[in-house]
């Protein structure tokens, strides 16, 4: 079943390569939520996630002629999503360096939709804020792996393809990320014993 879906994705992408907008719309329908979930997990902001999600699909459309069906389509798509995310992070850092912003939240506000709702963030529950802070303290690649593991239908192989690294590296990053998060959030979600993995 999963194989059939993978073949269908590749067939759709082959049509997209030839400029078929209907095929692209179908791919967009299939993956929009998952890409959105990735960016929401990374940025923690609905507006930012929507913007980055659009940016990702736009990039897929732009470089569609360069697509080669050498791996899974989700791996290809999330590889682009990861690049978009890293590019955006670089822009944030630049905004911070140039003094246009004093924090990442400000940097985001400078670069994204000026009508973003700061109240949304304020209204977020304390637990969510704690989890978000713990996630943001993780190294970038560990955070990406931790967020990607929550995306439905994304296998370890797809994550490895998206990150362009071996599966065992993905596995170890995931273990490290969970270990650090459990340590940081021990007061919120206590376990019976200390995290030993």
């Amino acid at each position: 079943m999963a194989d059939e879906a993978a073949v269908a994705d590749i067939a759709l992408m082959a049509r997209v390569r030839l400029g078929d907008e209907r095929a692209f719309e179908e791919l967009h329908r299939r993956y929009q939520r998952r890409v959105l979930a990735f960016f929401y997990g990374m940025a923690g902001d609905g507006h930012a996630a929507n913007d980055l999600c659009q940016e990702t699909f736009l990039r897929v459309w732009k470089v569609r002629r360069r697509y080669r069906a050498t791996g899974s389509f989700p791996g290809y798509l999330f590889g682009i999503a990861r690049l978009i995310w890293l590019e955006r992070c670089r822009e944030w850092r630049k905004a911070l360096r140039l003094g246009q912003a004093t924090s990442f939240d400000d940097a985001w506000a400078t670069l994204s939709d000026p009508g973003a709702h700061p109240d949304d963030r304020a209204a977020r529950s304390e637990t969510a804020t704690e989890i978000r802070r713990a996630l943001e303290s993780l190294p970038e690649e560990q955070r990406i792996v931790f967020v990607m593991r929550t995306i439905r239908g994304l296998s370890l192989e797809d994550i490895a393809a998206a990150l362009d690294c071996p599966i065992n590296t993905v596995r170890s990053r995931k273990i490290l990320a969970v270990k650090k998060l459990r340590h940081a959030l021990a007061h919120l979600v206590p376990g019976p014993v200390g995290a030993r993995y």
């Binding site: 609905g46 989890i131 019976p192």
Partner: protein, 163 residues
Amino acid sequence: MTDCRSIRSHFTDYLDGHLRAARREAVDKHLAACAGCREEFAAHRHFLATCDEFLVPEEPAYSFAELRRRMTDVEPLAEIVAFVPKLRIRGPVPRFAVSCLLMLLAGGLPATFRFSRDMYHQARDPFLAYKARVEDQYKAAWDPQHAAELDRIANQAPGNRPV
């Protein structure tokens, strides 16, 4: 019996559905036999569920129609960007040949443009055409004495220009 530490290292993969069948079976077997790991497994599941709950986004806030509008905006540039990688040339000799050709084109195009511009002006202005003919004649004769004659023609008032 499998080591508890090793089994616990697979909990996240187990819960994410990223574990192969054999390893999954080993974890199941161990959990059935070890109360400590069962407790740890429950805590781990609770922890991941709590984290994942806050990673679920709201409904998408844009439609494909909006994306399509942006797609048409970037189209011309995208075409160029997509074409560039097709210019891959394998082997040093073809690469050298193509480089030479590109250099010739880069140097030759402005010269061609200048030449055609001169021809165009000469076609429109009979005086320029006459001057060019005289220049060619003197160049052919290789006679520097007639340089003054050329200057005289060049400085002539427009009304007295020979046709």
